[in-house]
Every structure is written in structure tokens, then in C-alpha cells.
Amino acid sequence: MNSPLHYVFFQNALIAGLLTSLLAGLFSYFIVVRKMSFFTLGISHSAFGGISLGLLLGFQPFWAGVIFAVLMAILLSYLDRSGIDPDTAVGVLFPFAMAIGIIAISLNDKSTINVFSFLFGDILSITGADITIYLPLFIVNMIFFFLFFNLLIYSAFDRTDMMLRGVKVKLLELTFNIFLAITVMLSLKLLGIILVSALFVIPGAAAVALGRNYKSQIILSVVFSLIAIISGLFISFYLSVPTGPLIIIALVFIFVMSLIFGGNRLKSF
């Protein structure tokens, strides 16, 4: 059997996987320490509403999903500001978005298959045109992290002190949520709406269990994300099984290993 690297579809998948895993690893650390797992689940599922509406109304489903996910992130941030518990807000908006999506599918008898590709994802179907969308969004995300990294760490540790120092913490959090929504949408083609939240939760959870300080935890989170996506891609090629579930199995394996070798951090789980 030829090396998978000879195939263009695999090269595209690898590039998309590398870009996404770097971002997902970074976001994952913050999602775990800020306890935003359910928020991420809500964003990914709410994208379903946008994608289905996009297909029904003849828009690009990817961009319709991005717009829907970003609007959801803004709305959730606003509700959080209004004093509504974030989990409750997600619990209300996530089924609402799903309901819109289901109605849109039922009204659309042409594009059901397209919706299913977003539901379950298929990294091997990523094209060169997709990469041209991924790359600028990846660069913008990395610039955001480069500029605001210290602020994100410190606001996760002590939000009140950050406010006292004149930083607009709510604006920072809103911006983070918007970039997260965009990155979740980028990752849907890899893992699908149903599985994608694992990519944004498990690397960070494993890294926090294993790493000693925030720097090592963030590096581990990115490394775990990279290992899971690359190993999932290669194993799926050789075994001819779907890539998404293999990535999840690799992530869960890493998580279990981190708990076993994570020493005293195990107690906090």
C-alpha cells in the first residue's frame, strides 16, 4: 500500500487536522479551566440550526453555520452578563437551535445528505478550497492568542482583579467566545457536530490532570490534540475505518493515561 502522504485528499486532511488541532488544543485548556464544556457542546449543536437553514435558503452552509454559532456565542455571553446561569442559557438555546435545524431539514427535500456530512464529519473529504478558508481563520485565531494570551490566563485565574486593573474582561470573554465559535465550526468537517466537543474538552482535561503548571498544561493540551488527530488519520487510512471515531478513541485513551499518571491531580476528578 502506498504511503497516505502521496494522496492529495490525505494531504488536505493532514493540513486541516494540524491547523485545527493547534487551535483546539489552545482553546481546550481555557475551556477546561473556565468550565465551559457545556458551552462548547451548545455552540457545536447550535451550528446545526445555521447549517440546515443555510442549505434551505441556498446560502453556503459553512458560513451560515459560522454566523449562527457566532450569534449564539454573543447571545450566551449577553445572557451570562444578565445574571442567567450559563448552563441554563445553553440548555435553552441549544435545543432551540437544534429545533430550527430539524424544521429546516424537514422543509428541504434536497440536501439531507449534506447535513449528515456536518453531523458526523469527514476529514478525508476536505478539499484545497476548504484549506483556503481554514488558513486565514487559523492565522486570525493565532494572532488573537498571541496578543491576549496573558490576559486570558490571568482573567481565568482572577476575573475581579483583572477588572480592577482596567481590563475590559467582558469584552475579552466575548471575543474569546466568538473565536471559539468560529474554531468549533472549522472543526465540524473533521469530527461532526456530535463528536466535535470532545476535541475541545478532552485534550485540556488530560493536560490539566498531567501538567504541573499552566505553561506545561497548555503545551500538553496542544500535543495531545495533535497526537489524537494525526494518529486517528493514519490508523483510519490503514484500517479503512472512519477517522472521527478513531480520533475520539485516541483522545479518550490519552485522557485515561493522564488520569493514571497524573499523580495527585487525580483526586480533583
Partner: protein
């Protein structure tokens, strides 16, 4: 213009506060002056509005009625209870203070890297510089939070029940550090505490919060003020003369007398 000890830093003018327009007033008709060099003890029962008052002074809440006048462009630093911090973020002592300084849009221009070392040294925690913050004891963590506040070179240091849950030894050590910093740096300090035994020896002024607020310039008066007696009753006697050994600061002051 240089602010001299005794000059007003902040004036609270007829402040009312409610979290909800239709809800009950948490604070009503609060007026007081915070002067440079003062050490203010803020006392009151749970739910009396002490922390709300601090949050108004810190500009984290806006008063419903009345105004807070800041006489200078003062820097305020806040020492919270350590339970309000996110335990999941694993920071070393050094990186905690460094991040606090570099994150601050306002403060970051004012500081050099030496400020971090000096602040840690000021609270006697140099040997713990590379330790993880959440691996320290309660008393050590609180000293590091004071170091973080000092590194920002504040005019006003505000502490919210900094010694909650401390054993006697940790409490003594904490108060001695605080008193030493107060004398050495000429800070203005405002501290919420339930530890009434410390009030006479440390504080110059007492804010007794009970929805409204009484201001006492003689700390001993505050402990026997009608409001405290009405609310605490015999419990006040226990707090003042009760079973716990007065800590070293109190002993030191009595010896001086």
C-alpha cells in the same frame, strides 16, 4: 499635589445601593471619608453589606443613589478571599504576580521586574517564589495575595476577610506582616473582618456596617456600640474576652502601654 497623611482619598456621599430596582436596599445613606494613612476595620454581620461597600469603593458596582468621590487618581488593590480564585489555573507565585502586573493596562507601565521580587520579599515569602500558589497554606496564600497587591504600588489596599479559616498561628503571622507593611510603606488599608479581637490594636477607624453605617474614630467604641451589642449580645463578650488567646499584635500593644 502630594497627598499627605490625613488628607481625604475617597469620600462616600449619601450612598444607597440595591442589586435590584424593586429589591431591598442593601446599603442606605452611607457617608464617610477614607483618609490617607488610615487603617479602617470594616465590621458587621453576615449579609450586612460589607462586601457590597467594598465593591462600590472598588468601582465594581455603581451606587444606586449618592456618589463616590475619588480625590486623587488613586490606585486601589484588592486582596480577596482565596476561595474566590480559580483553582484550576496552576500558577507559580512569581508568574501570578508577573501576570497581574503585565495584564494591567493601567499599572503595567509603572513597574519593573524587581517589583515582583521586592513585593514577595516584603511579605517574607521569597523562598516560595517558585512554588505553585495553590500548594501553599491558607496563610501563605494570603500573604502572596498581599504581595500581588503591593507590587501594584497601591494608595489604598482593600482586604476582604483575609484571615477567614486561619488557625491562630497563621492569623498572628498574617497580622504581624500586615502591621509591618502598614508602618513601613505608609499604606492606607481597609479590611473587612469578623475577627473583632484584632480591631482595637490594628485599626484607627471602624466602619460598623448594618445596612447603614456608623463610623467610629475610637476602635474600642465600635465594639461596644449599641448596634454591635444588639446584634451580637453575649457573643460580643466572647469575641472580645473569650477563649482564644489574643495574638501577638495585641500583646505587643498592651506591653507598649
Amino acid at each position: 499635589m502630594k497627598v499627605l497623611p490625613g488628607d481625604p482619598l475617597i469620600t462616600l456621599k449619601n450612598i444607597d445601593f440595591s442589586y435590584d430596582r424593586k429589591g431591598p436596599m442593601i446599603l442606605s445613606n452611607i457617608s464617610a471619608i477614607i483618609k490617607k494613612g488610615d487603617f479602617i476595620g470594616v465590621i458587621g454581620l453576615n449579609g450586612s453589606g460589607k462586601t457590597t461597600l467594598l465593591r462600590i469603593i472598588l468601582r465594581l458596582l455603581n451606587p444606586t443613589v449618592g456618589e463616590v468621590i475619588y480625590h486623587e487618581n488613586i490606585r486601589m488593590a484588592y486582596v480577596p478571599q482565596e476561595t474566590s480564585l480559580n483553582r484550576e489555573v496552576s500558577l507559580s507565585v512569581e508568574s501570578l504576580i508577573r501576570l497581574s502586573l503585565t495584564s494591567g493596562r493601567v499599572f503595567s507601565k509603572l513597574h519593573s521586574p524587581d517589583d515582583i521580587s521586592q513585593a514577595i520579599e516584603a511579605v517574607g515569602m521569597t523562598v516560595f517564589k517558585d512554588h505553585l500558589f495553590f500548594e501553599l497554606s491558607g496563610g501563605q496564600k494570603q500573604k502572596i495575595l498581599i504581595a500581588r497587591a503591593l507590587a501594584a504600588k497601591p494608595h489604598l489596599l482593600i482586604l476582604d476577610e483575609p484571615n477567614a479559616g486561619f488557625d491562630e498561628k497563621a492569623r498572628d503571622s498574617f497580622y504581624n506582616t500586615l502591621e509591618e507593611l502598614y508602618s513601613r510603606y505608609g499604606l492606607t488599608i481597609m479590611m473587612v473582618t469578623h475577627d473583632l479581637s484584632i480591631i482595637p490594636s490594628l485599626s484607627k477607624t471602624i466602619f460598623c456596617v448594618h445596612g447603614g453605617m456608623d463610623v467610629h474614630d475610637k476602635p474600642e467604641e465600635a465594639l461596644t456600640c449599641p448596634m454591635m451589642q444588639r446584634h451580637l449580645g453575649t457573643h460580643l463578650e466572647i469575641l472580645l474576652h473569650g477563649s482564644s488567646t489574643p495574638h501577638r499584635v495585641v500583646r505587643k500593644h498592651k506591653e507598649e502601654k
